[in-house]
């Protein structure tokens, strides 16, 4: 077990190190989400309800996540490193988990920029809303890392990834918006937890089949 977690940690560290060197994905995500929020200001008609703004926050988050997920497996594609990892790891699910954790770190970092910007431009965010963002982010990265690996094996992967990801993201948006605007966010947060549990386990178990023949 500790060896497995050690593998996961080494793999996640590798991704963080690569991003620290290249510094392309994270700044792009942060800039993208703020730009999107600004666009939304102009897209919302005057007098639109506050609830509508929360909805748009989630659109912004989902598409920012897509930006990051699109590049998630790029380092592995470059020089065939994915094959190397498949050969070297005793449990291939560690590859998925390391990648999902690293992607989560990037998404949370982008949210650290996005959420204050949102609160500044549109509406305040309370505890349940923030918890909803966190829970949904876990789900996004769990499912997204798997689906991104599928797309990486295909042609036209930049176009394919949103098609694969968005239907799966719809429940997350429901949970996230609900936790932001509902007077009783408990049900929505519980639902997000359920989604995370179901799809994290599914992704964890299925990853092996996606990357091996």
């Amino acid at each position: 077990m500790t060896a497995y977690l050690g593998d996961v940690a080494a793999l996640a560290r590798k991704d963080l190190r690569l991003e620290l060197r290249a510094r392309d994905t994270l700044p792009a995500m942060a800039l993208f989400v703020v730009a999107t929020l600004v666009v939304f200001h102009f897209a919302l008609p005057g007098g639109a309800s506050e609830d509508a703004a929360y909805g748009l926050l989630w659109v912004a988050l989902v598409f920012t996540a897509l930006l990051g997920l699109g590049r998630a497996w790029a380092p592995e594609s470059e020089a065939g490193a994915l094959d190397g990892l498949v050969l070297a790891t005793s449990d291939r699910s560690a590859i998925w988990l390391g990648k999902a954790l690293a992607t989560l770190a990037f998404l949370v970092a982008a949210e650290v920029v996005a959420l204050p910007a949102f609160a500044l431009f549109f509406a305040p965010l309370d505890g349940p809303a923030l918890l909803g963002v966190l829970l949904a982010s876990v789900g996004i990265c769990a499912v997204g890392s798997l689906v991104s690996a599928m797309a990486a094996a295909a042609r036209g992967r930049e176009v394919l990834l949103p098609l694969l990801f968005l239907p799966l993201a719809i429940p997350l948006v429901v949970g996230g918006v609900g936790s932001s605007i509902s007077p009783e966010p408990g049900a929505y947060l519980a639902f997000l937890g359920l989604y995370d549990a179901v799809f994290a386990i599914l992704s964890w178990a299925a990853f092996e089949y996606v990357v091996t023949e």
């Binding site: 599928m150 094996a153 098609l163 694969l164 239907p167 639902f191």
Partner: protein, 228 residues
């Protein structure tokens, strides 16, 4: 094909017979609905089609699981055909649901019908299945990735269902009420006949499409063998 399996043409004939019976029952035996009148009859078609779509997706996922666990060659085509049939019936669900909405409430679409919204999400998901499948080179990787995606589909069905239920709280509740029909005996009979007919029809379509695809593959393999 083993001797005990009924032939496809026999099953098709049976499906036609059942369909005729269900039409009879629906229009002549089952009572007309007090609120909605004749348009309520769509229910006898719409709900079985929806149930059949779920069954097809389930079949596709089951075959996908078999593929992943046993690596049997046949399961890839079977899973794909199941998903394909499910998508067809899913599209039909949306169409019949839309017709029903128009007939009952005067709008072609409503977000308050949880079933309809669920099918929209699933339809998007399974359309992406085909995009995924045909973007990958044929081979074991394509089979496995398709299978994993099919399994994600059946996990998505209940999760989306809950999500949509939750969402209906803050999507404006509308004046459209969704009735769960309390069925009388004759209504139940009509419903069952219709359900049986549509399920059988789906099965016949599944077997036919599968046979067609297998023949396709065999033909191409023969061509390739001859070319050598």
């Amino acid at each position: 094909m083993s001797i005990t399996r009924p032939s496809l043409s026999a099953l098709a004939a049976l499906a036609v017979a059942l369909a005729a019976a269900s039409v009879l029952l629906t229009f002549f035996i089952a009572p007309e609905d007090a609120d909605q009148g004749l348009s309520q009859k769509i229910f006898y078609v719409h709900v079985p089609i929806a149930l059949t779509a779920y069954a097809c997706f389930g079949l596709g996922a089951w075959k996908a699981l078999r593929l992943l666990l046993t690596r049997g060659e046949r399961y890839d085509l079977e899973s794909y055909t199941g998903i394909h049939q499910g998508t067809i019936f899913g599209a039909l669900t949306l169409v019949t649901g839309s017709i029903w909405a128009k007939a009952s409430w005067g709008v072609w679409w409503t977000w308050s019908s949880n079933q309809l919204v669920l099918f929209l999400v699933l339809f998007l998901f399974y359309c992406a299945y085909f995009m995924l499948r045909f973007s990958i080179e044929p081979g074991p990787q394509r089979e496995r990735i398709s299978a994993v995606y099919a399994l994600f589909g059946v996990a998505l069905i209940p999760v989306s269902f809950f999500a949509i239920r939750l969402a209906s709280d803050f999507i404006h509740p509308t004046v459209f009420t969704r009735e769960g029909p309390q069925m009388t005996g004759s209504m139940f009979a009509a419903f069952c006949a219709s359900w049986a007919a549509i399920t059988l029809l789906a099965y016949v379509m599944y077997r036919t499409e599968l046979a067609g695809k297998r023949t396709d593959v065999n033909l191409r393999e023969l061509r390739e063998a001859l070319a050598r």
